[in-house]
């Protein structure tokens, strides 16, 4: 699966989502001396868009003295999760929270580099790819599981077989695409055969494909391996220590980790469902990390918090139901793109933390991203011209196509300040074309359902994917008809063919020209209005060092190199 929706359904509710906050979470409070006056209280109550508002400059003179009382322990990294994680990387119960836990517990064949996000050796010391791109041979290191048993080729086979087993609800099965068989050559060599060449294979292997100990799982139902999740065994840098459900989960360093013992002795995952509470805990020195929305930056920065803006493969877009006759003509969709001032959105909503994009391929996709491809500019005249060409005209004050007026809805999920702003701006700017869009705010599950069943006209959406352009196939080719939130119901033979070509080639050099064409095609067709690639915005406590510039999902593979102090 692509982490985007499901994980981010949760994500939106916590790790970086925000149910309570309003879009104005900033208080310009300049006085450093905090007085417990009614006015101060009311003033703060008024701007309380969440603790977000409690922000920066409210340090009291007593702070320093009292701080010792709540100072976090010096040997544990304190990391928030919005819900209980479950260490079952195959079926991934618990969604994003589990993803953020598993990275520290389990090893993988390959994992993303902390700076470039490209696959680098993990349990696999090296690998060879056959000329025809059909066979991958991995050579394993001498590595131990936490219980002292060696990691063998048999464990790799056990894991990959489990993921491909249809009786098991493996979350990432489709990511492994045409995987046919896994063959144990010897204890340290494993050979994977594919049905057909699959360029993204290594990138997909680094995306949450975690190697499990066969000896600890044999005989358990991987759909609900209760005994294992109570005492999971991995080969990652940290070992399971203690889990108090709903409260906290503690991992302790694995001294025999193959790449050296971790520098921070423990990681304590604190389960804190409310992101405002997470922010308060970061400000109070009781947490080391929080992921936030742009509108919350001002309130968390300063005073012992370091801000960090990371590159996580993700993009914001205005999703369009391309099957709706109003939007079937690509010229109409292009006009809708031209009518949105994307620069202004980047400046005022993302507060500059991101980059404009012309297609859904975003900068973290590295080699595939065509930096030279310009997004459609903000040009109302050109937009109106395109609409005229498409046959749309004003009737009774409303833009109309073949007698059907452009009165439609913009579907937005309730509670996230950024997405609410994006929706409101789109509404306003499309009005300039004579369209009459209305806002439709829906609860997340409902929102998701409406998108999946194509019960929408337009919608504010985002999509976090693995950093290979083929990951976008499910969204933009015409093959996928199931209930599927990313599906704009876009049918374009040219796009289908480019995806089909690109996936079969093995090296980035071979694949790049195809994906350049794909980006141009998607820009011209605008199945959705592509807005921007947003940075992942994180606040770390000042004592944390070494977290790098990739998104937190990838950064967490490297916590064993982080330091505190």
């Amino acid at each position: 699966m692509v982490e985007g929706r499901r994980a981010d359904g949760a994500r939106r509710r916590g790790v970086d989502g925000n149910r309570v906050a309003t879009s104005k979470g900033v208080i310009p409070m300049s006085d450093n001396v905090y007085r417990f006056s009614r006015r101060a209280l009311l003033a703060r109550a008024a701007v309380l868009g969440g603790v977000a508002a409690a922000g920066g400059s409210l340090a009291s003179p007593r702070t320093a003295a009292a701080a010792a009382a709540t100072a976090p322990t010096a040997n544990a990294l304190l990391f928030p999760l919005i819900s209980n994680p479950t260490p079952n990387p195959v079926t991934l119960p618990g969604g994003l929270s589990s993803i953020l836990l598993n990275k520290n517990l389990f090893g993988q064949l390959v994992r993303p580099d902390p700076h470039t996000d490209q696959p680098v050796p993990d349990l696999a010391r090296s690998w060879e790819i056959s000329k025809d791109g059909l066979t991958y041979t991995f050579h394993l290191r001498d590595v131990l599981f936490h219980d002292g048993q060696p990691v063998t080729a048999g464990d790799v086979k056990f894991t990959l077989d489990a993921i491909m087993d249809k009786k098991i609800n493996a979350t990432f099965r489709t990511n492994l695409g045409p995987l046919k068989t896994t063959h144990v050559v010897d204890a340290h060599t494993v050979q994977v055969s594919l049905e057909e060449p699959y360029g993204p294979f290594l990138t997909m292997l680094q995306y949450n494909i975690m190697i499990l100990p066969e000896h600890a799982l044999k005989g358990q139902d991987l759909n609900k391996p209760t005994a294992f999740v109570e005492h999971p065994i991995g080969s990652g840098p940290y070992m399971w220590k203690e889990f108090v459900q709903g409260d906290h989960l503690t991992l302790v360093k694995f001294d025999k980790f193959w790449d050296g013992a971790p520098k921070i002795p423990e990681i304590v995952y604190e389960i804190i469902p409310d992101v405002n509470t997470q922010i308060a805990k970061l400000k109070a020195g009781e947490l080391d990390f929080v992921m936030v929305e742009p509108s919350q930056i001002a309130s968390i920065s300063g005073g012992g918090v370091q801000m960090s803006y990371a590159n996580q493969t993700n993009y914001y877009y205005l999703g369009i139901n391309d099957q709706n006759p109003l939007f079937k003509d690509p010229r109409v969709r292009r006009a809708m793109a031209l009518a949105i001032d994307k620069q202004q959105i980047l400046r005022n909503v993302m507060l500059g933390h991101g980059r404009l994009i012309a297609s859904p391929v975003s900068p973290p996709m590295r080699w595939a991203f065509d930096a030279g491809l310009e997004p459609w500019p903000y040009d109302l005249n050109k937009a109106k011209e395109l609409l005229r060409e498409a046959g749309a005209k004003m009737e009774n004050g409303v833009l109309t196509l073949n007698g059907q007026p452009y009165t439609f809805k913009i579907l937005v999920d309730i509670g996230n300040p950024t997405r609410k702003q994006l929706g409101l701006i789109a509404q306003q700017q499309w009005q300039a074309l004579g369209m009459q869009p209305q806002m439709d705010f829906e609860e997340f599950n409902n929102w998701y359902d409406m998108l999946g069943n194509l019960k929408f006209d337009t919608a504010v959406e985002w999509w976090i994917t693995p950093n290979d352009p083929n990951a976008l196939q499910g969204g933009y080719d015409s093959q996928h008809d199931g209930p599927d939130a990313q599906h704009p119901n876009f049918d374009d033979p040219v796009t289908d063919q480019l995806f089909a070509q690109g996936v079969r080639l093995s090296t980035p050099a071979e694949r790049k020209p195809i994906y350049d064409k794909l980006q141009q095609r998607l820009k011209d067709m605008q199945p959705d209005v592509f807005l921007n690639f947003p940075n992942e915005i994180r606040g770390f406590s000042a004592r944390v060092h070494g977290f790098g510039t990739v998104g937190i999902r990838d950064a967490l593979y490297w916590t064993y190199k982080w330091t505190l102090g």
Partner: protein
């Protein structure tokens, strides 16, 4: 009395069945579902069918419900989708935290509300009464999440005298003192909401009782004012309060979801909210049935306690 209890118990079973049935229908009627949440943008419709078959979601709803009942009869609430753990275990872990928070809040609110209610009833429309009235209004109308966040801002972020949230200091061993420190803010916030209402009920009931002829009789007998107040008036004023407390108890067992959410308190309310978000059917059903059973039990106890407090009330099997 025994007949009364037996008949109530029989009614309870029927009631529990209805609660389970309605919950089951509602969660399956809600948009989305675990199948969709686990869905992956690249799955085809056929693959989604496989996934639902593995979860048993392809069976007709009445079969799924019957399966669930059969399981329940064996004391098994199933395995939660979101944790791979038995639902009974998940609830057992959360219940103590919820009872601790709820019990503390209830005790605190009664400890304040009863004396305040009495004091204001003795001198209605006095300065004290007016001030308490005003405060009660504020207390009743203040959203819990807002009050909770204000407490966190002031005491944890600014003054740094209290921990912001959670049940214990991260990375440290759990001690009673640490637990109490963490309990204080959520308990006060949760108590504030109850306190305001409770004190109003005590006041009103007390004023009414104080106007009764038997109070005048007691006074004219020459009984001490204190005696009249506590022995004759208070006990008779407690009936509405018992009703109110009875109504509040389900919340204390089901968990005060918002308070638990804001203070990251690992109780039942938080668990229920997360189960609902994730469409974790076994967990939602498990929580519902446990809370419903507790509520029904408490209601029975409440009704029994009326008879103890007020001898004029008799209980009959209907």
């Amino acid at each position: 009395m025994a007949r009364y209890i037996i008949s109530r118990a029989a009614q309870s079973v029927v009631l529990l069945f209805l609660v389970a049935l309605i919950t089951f229908v509602l969660i399956h009627a809600a948009p989305g579902g675990p199948g969709i949440l686990m869905n992956d943008q690249k799955m085809t419709a056929a693959q989604i069918k496989e996934l639902e078959a593995n979860l048993g979601l392809d069976k007709p709803l009445y079969v799924q419900f019957a399966d669930w009942l059969a399981q329940l009869a064996r004391g098994n609430l199933g395995i939660a989708y979101t944790s791979d753990l038995p639902v009974t275990q998940m609830i057992a872990v959360r219940l103590p935290a919820t009872l601790l928070l709820g019990g503390s809040a209830l005790t605190l609110s009664l400890a304040v509300a009863i004396p305040v209610g009495i004091a204001t009833a003795i001198r209605p429309r006095s300065l004290l009464d007016n001030v308490v009235s005003a405060l009660s209004f504020v207390g009743v109308s203040m959203p819990v999440f807002w009050l909770g966040l204000m407490f966190i801002i002031v005491f944890a972020v600014d003054l740094r005298v209290m921990p912001a949230a959670g049940m214990r200091t991260a990375g440290a061993a759990l001690t009673a003192a640490d637990l109490l420190r963490h309990l204080l803010m959520p308990a006060v916030v949760l108590a504030a909401a109850f306190m305001a209402g409770f004190s109003r009920y005590v006041r009103t009931a007390m004023i009414e009782v104080l106007a009764q002829p038997y109070i005048r009789t007691a006074r004219s007998k020459g009984l001490a004012a204190r005696m009249v107040l506590y022995r004759h008036a208070l006990r008779n004023s407690l009936i509405p309060l018992v009703t109110m407390v009875g109504l509040a108890l389900p919340l204390l067992i089901g968990g005060a979801a918002i308070t638990e959410q804001v203070f990251a308190w690992p109780g039942m309310g938080q668990l229920a909210v997360q189960a609902a978000y994730a469409h974790d059917y076994p967990l939602i059903m498990g929580i519902t049935i446990v809370v419903a059973a507790a509520v029904i039990g408490i209601n029975l106890l409440t009704d029994l306690s009326y008879a103890l407090i007020d001898p004029r009330i008799e209980l009959h099997a209907s």
